[in-house]
Symmetry: C2
Subunit: 283 residues, 2 copies
C-alpha cells in the first residue's frame, strides 16, 4: 500500500482549518528567516509558503544577503524573535559560513521554535517530554505511522541516518512510543541485514536509492525521508521505490511523501505556538 503525503495532509488540513476558526480572527504568523540563496532552502520556502497560505496561516519572509555579518544577522534575528506579532520562527539552513548556526539556534525563543532547533526543545525531545516542539521532519514520520494505523510499540525499527534533524530525534520519538530502535549510519557494518531484521525501516541517509529490496523483509513498512536527485536529475528518495514497493506492506513515495507531511506538521506547530502564546497572554 502506497501512503502519499497528500492524502495524509488532506485530513490534517481539515483539522487545522477547524482549529483556525476557534482563534476568533487571530491569524497565526510564521517568520521564515533565510540568509543567502541555498537552492534547497529556496525550494522548501516556496512550497511551504504556498501550503501555509492555503491552510490560512500568515507567512512573513525575512531574507538577508548571503554575506551579512554575524553581528547584523544576530541583531535582526533578535528583533524577529522578540516581535509579538510573530508566533513561530523557521530558520532555513544551511546558513552562510560566516554565521554561527548553533549560536543562532540557541537564541530562538523556545515557544516560537516551531522546528525544534533550540536546546530547550532538543532536551525535551531527548527526554521524551512532549510539551516542546520536535523537528517537523521527525514528527512527520510519526504522523505517517499514525495515519497508516501502525503502532510502533514493541516493533523493531531500523533508522538509517543519525542527523540532529531526523535520525536522532526520530529515535527518541519512537522510543517514547515503545519501539525498539536501531540507528544505522555510514559506519554500520551490515545495514542490509539490520534492516531486513526490522519490521519498520526509515531511510534518512541522504543517499539516492540506497535502500533496495535486499534491505527489506517481506511485508515491512518502509518510510522514505530522503530528498535527492537521481542520475537523470529527477527527484528521488533514499529508497529505490520501484524495487521495494511490491515487497513492502506500506511505503511512502518521493515526491509526495514525508516532505509533504513535514510542511503540514510545520503548520500545526505554528498553530500550536499561537494558541500557547495567546493562553500565556490571557493568563
Amino acid at each position: 500500500m502506497i501512503i502519499t503525503g497528500s492524502e495524509i495532509t488532506a485530513a490534517m488540513d481539515g483539522r487545522l482549518k477547524d482549529e483556525l476558526r476557534t482563534l476568533n480572527g487571530h491569524v497565526p504568523q510564521l517568520a521564515v528567516v533565510r540568509a543567502g540563496k541555498d537552492a534547497g532552502s529556496l525550494a522548501y520556502e516556496s512550497s511551504m509558503m504556498k501550503r501555509l497560505s492555503v491552510i490560512g496561516l500568515k507567512v512573513r519572509p525575512y531574507t538577508f544577503a548571503g554575506d551579512i555579518s554575524g553581528a547584523e544577522f544576530g541583531k535582526a534575528f533578535a528583533a524577529i524573535n522578540q516581535d509579538p506579532s510573530i508566533d513561530g520562527i523557521l530558520l532555513l539552513r544551511p546558513l552562510p559560513a560566516q554565521l554561527d548556526e548553533k549560536a543562532v539556534c540557541g537564541l530562538i525563543d523556545p515557544v516560537k521554535d516551531v522546528d525544534g532547533l533550540s536546546p530547550v526543545n532538543m532536551a525535551k525531545v531527548f527526554m521524551g517530554d512532549e510539551s516542546g516542539f520536535a523537528p517537523c521532519t521527525a514528527e512527520a514520520v510519526m504522523e505517517v505511522l499514525r495515519w497508516a494505523g501502525i503502532n510502533p510499540a514493541g516493533k523493531r525499527v531500523a533508522i538509517i541516518g543519525r542527523s540532529t534533524l531526523v535520525g536522532r530525534p526520530l529515535a527518541m520519538l519512537l522510543l517514547r512510543q515503545n519501539a525498539t530502535i536501531t540507528v544505522c549510519h555510514t559506519q554500520t557494518a551490515d545495514v542490509e541485514k539490520i534492516c531486513r531484521n526490522s519490521e519498520i525501516v526509515i531511510a534518512a541517509a541522504g543517499r539516492a536509492k540506497l535502500v533496495n529490496k535486499k534491505f527489506i523483509a517481506e511485508g515491512a513498512v518502509v518510510i522514505d525521508v530522503g530528498i535527492n536527485a537521481d542520475q537523470a536529475g529527477n527527484l528521488c528518495g533514499d529508497v529505490d521505490f520501484a524495487d521495494v514497493v511490491e515487497k513492502s506492506s506500506f511505503i511512502t513515495p518521493v515526491p509526495d511523501g514525508v516532505g509533504t507531511v513535514t510542511i503540514t506538521v510545520l503548520a500545526r506547530h505554528v498553530m500550536r505556538a499561537a494558541v500557547c502564546r495567546r493562553r500565556a497572554f490571557s493568563a
Copy 2:
C-alpha cells in the same frame, strides 16, 4: 577478562591529581544538594564524598529536610547556583514529591552542571557536541570501553534501558563514536536475541540479574550499569555475573564496576568545570 572499576579509577586518579597541581592552589569545590533521606542517595553521597576527598577535591553538602517547600528549596538552590566558590553542583535524586525535579534541573547553571541534567547539556549530548557535560554514569561506560581498548566504531551495541540518565545519553555518546546502537526496554519483543546478535551489551535496566548467558554471544563485551539487591539482599548488577563471565571477553562486576568509575568521572567533571570557570574569569 574482568574489568574492575578500581583498576580504571587508579589510572584516572593519577591524572586528576596531576591536573589538580596545575591549578596553583585552587581546590575545586562540588556542592552536593540533597533533600530528604533517600537510601540510594545517602549511599552514593557517602562513597562519593570519600572518593572526592581522596583525590583532593572539596565537597560541600547542602542537606534539606524532606518536607521543604518548593519555594524555599528553589531559593536555597539559586543561592548555591550563584555562589562563586562553587565549581560544580550535584543534585541528588529522586527529590521529594513536592519538589519539581524538572524545574530545578532547568535552573542549574550549565557550566556547573557536572551531571548533565540541564537542558543545555542534554541538548549537547543529543547533538553529539562534546563541549558540555554528559551524565557521569553514561560517560563512565565510555570510559570503561576506552580503558579496555574497545573501539565501538562499527560495532553492534545493545543498550538495555532507555532512561534519561543512562540509556538515552549512552546511545548518543556511542553514536558519536560510530557504534550501531539498538535501544531495548521493557516493551522490546526479543531482548535476548537482540543482545545475542550484539558485540557489546550494556545492561542499564535496573533489574537484578536480568542478563544471563542466553543474552550473550561467545566473546561479547558485557558492561553492567545496574545496582540492585538480589533475593539474599546482596548488592548485584543487571547481569548474572557467574553465569555470563566465562562466555564474555570483557565484563564489569558489581560492585567495583561502572559505579566506581562514575564517581571518578564526576571528579573529572568538577575539575573541568573549575578549569573552565577560571579561564572565563581570567579572559
